[in-house]
Amino acid sequence: MMSDLGPHAGFILASYAAVVLVLGGLILTVILDHRAQKRALAALEQRGAGRRSGQAAP
């Protein structure tokens, strides 16, 4: 099927490119944000920022 996408191949490929770009961007953003927050939290806890707050580590 993939070898012959017919006269509208460009539109089909553009659709899948849009999916890859939008979802790829979203996945990357979510993972990078998760990593950044994890590092920031670890740095704060290492400095003992939470000592007097009584909060548990995650």
Binding site: M1, M2, D4, L5, G6, P7, H8, A9, F11, I12, A14, S15, Y16, A18, V19, V22, L23, G25, L26, I27, T29, V30, I31, D33, H34, A36, Q37, K38, A40, L41, L44, E45, R47, A49, G50, R52, S53, Q55, A56, P58
Partner: protein, 258 residues
Amino acid sequence: MYRGDMASLIDLANPTRFMRLSVVVLPWLTGMAVLLLAVGFYLAWFVAPADYQQGETIRIMFVHVPAAWLALMFYTVMSIAALGTLVWRHPLADVAQKAAAPIGACFALICLLTGAFWGKPMWGTYWVWDARLTSVLVLLLIYLGIIALWRALDEPSRAGRMVAILTLVGFVNVPIIKFSVDWWNTLHQPASVLRMGGPTIHPSMLWPLLILAVGFTCLALVLHLVAMRAEIMRRRVRTLTILEAERLDRLAAQGVPA
């Protein structure tokens, strides 16, 4: 998580417990997403036949339709979370709300883009201002408005309440989108899967569509859980930063070097 009974909801209300539980669930959900998307795309590309009317452009439907469902599903999830914020003051509700917005927005965007790329060869135009297309564009704009409001307000619990009100007001658009094809004479075809009397699609196309829909849903839930974890950590970082600043202030006032 979304449909648990009240007891399990209260169990999950503890962010620390949520962090622990999500670590266990995430690898399984990710594996399911990868497997279902792989099988779904294989069927969609290599097994499903070309449509007798749409030809090969039917391949666009396999991503367009799940994206549309997920854009609506995530808005519904956000609305339920908004109720959780306003009515039950559930500690995870506005975390869930905030994390869901960019994911729903991305699926609404994919729905509009793939719809346009299908519309050009099939309808002869990328865009028409008909009821279905316009109401989905409004959904994307509401998503963007919600994301902007989250960014405009610093204090998370206050932002959560204000966004919750906006989200619930915007929910009126969800049934409008769903029934727009029945209420108005639109260019967009009526529902062919979720309709009274059963689907009107041939099984060779229905199966890949359903498998991809569940696969994309798993992927979206994985992203939602990871984004919720990041949001919980962001709030802890915020609290700890404030506590640290207060501690340094106190030390400075006592004349002790920090």
